[in-house]
Symmetry: C2
Subunit: 223 residues, 2 copies
DNA sequence: GTCTATATGGTGATAGAC
DNA sequence: GTCTATCACCATATAGAC
């Protein structure tokens, strides 16, 4: 299956995605390695070592290193998208919708830091156009996916500006500045062991506040 | 010479740094390659090809690929630092100093995008700790250099807050958000051929405005 | 100072045993 | 489904000709 997940019926009778464990294990080990060393510097043997296995296992499930990468990329995008999805069509003023999706996005950047960084590198790779001809098509698809995601934010801040709640000039420039700010924790945030939920949300609030004001939002955030 | 530059007397009798051209040519070709494909994915042959030479030339001037990278990193940091240096001790309110250095920093990100990206990757590499034991020491030194640079901004926004011109909670989190926003053009800005100075400064102003407001700055920027 | 070999090790990928 | 063994290739770095 191209998706890497099958639909299975649980004991509760709910149909939900249940990945075959081998594949997800590989995906997560790969995500760790790609985050730590980057795609190019990571060897398939590295991933295998992390798994406590040899590369035979990996090549049985993924035809190539590039496919392994796109697998992680897709998995990461799914998680990011899923966090925002419930709120993207929330009724009411656009600015309130923005607050919600910006917040869950930022929390997701911290909670799924590893996957988020691989997604980031994938976008970077695509922007540089440094992939082989055929991989380009695959990666282009995934970047399309990711562009659809950023469009959610673009439309939202645009609408909020129309409604008089935000104030900025060029949308394209502004949405980039905003995203970079919201994504920033993937580069410096280090998850700690006994970390409270409040600690994470506290950091996220500050980042979202920065972006909120940057967009020209008035008053307090009250997340 | 460890610096890669000799002091030479020009025909005007002024002593100024004159890099031996071979070295700088290599440095710039390497910067191009590192930006386009990243450090790990760039081979020394790639750099040589870009130079229209073979790797013998490169290894005559740089002992290793890693040294080539740190050479580019240092060169990039020098340029970035040099742009801000004239204003870092400017008298007057800290907020005015911030406006100046934030603006020249952002313009520099666009004008020296290639070098700026290599510096970025160097910092990233260091944060990941993905270098060999001995390179670590060298890179650590350079990251120290780069940290000193970001401290300029940290102190400035901190002081501006004390003077009542900025308003934010945690300095560490805020300075990261701010830097990410100011650095954002290195990922999406594409220099065009007949580009006017106004076009570049126009983009920079919008980015700096976003950051200024994000920091809690009041009123207009008036750069 | 730059080039043309070349030594040496690692990497992606495959074949076949179990 | 996973492992071992192996191939072909590419990359870093060096040695020595010019």
């Amino acid at each position: 299956m191209a998706e890497g997940e099958d639909m299975a019926t649980t004991t509760l009778g709910v149909r939900e995605p249940v990945a075959d464990d081998s594949r997800t294990d590989i995906l997560l080990a790969a995500a760790d390695c790609f985050m730590e060393r980057g795609y190019a510097a990571t060897s398939v043997d590295d991933v295998a070592r992390r798994l406590g296995a040899t590369k035979g296992r990996i090549y049985h499930h993924f035809p190539s290193k590039a496919d392994l990468f796109t697998g992680v990329f897709r998995h990461g995008m799914d998680r990011i998208y899923a966090a925002v999805e419930p709120y993207r069509n929330m009724p009411g003023p656009a600015v309130e919708r923005w607050k919600k999706i910006a917040f869950v996005h930022t929390v997701r950047m911290m909670r799924s830091k590893t996957l988020a960084r691989v997604v980031w590198e994938g976008v970077e790779m695509h922007l540089r156009g440094a992939t082989t001809p055929e991989q380009r098509v695959v990666l282009a698809d995934l970047v399309q996916y990711r562009n659809g995601y950023s469009d959610i934010f673009r439309r939202t801040i645009s609408q909020a500006r129309d409604e008089g709640d935000f104030d900025f000039d060029d949308v394209a420039i502004t949405v980039q500045s905003m995203f970079m700010a919201l994504n920033s924790p993937i580069f410096w945030y280090v998850p700690r062991d006994g970390e409270t939920e409040e600690h994470v949300t506290g950091i996220a609030k500050q980042i979202v506040t920065f972006a909120y004001r940057g967009l020209g939002g008035k008053g307090e955030l009250n997340l």
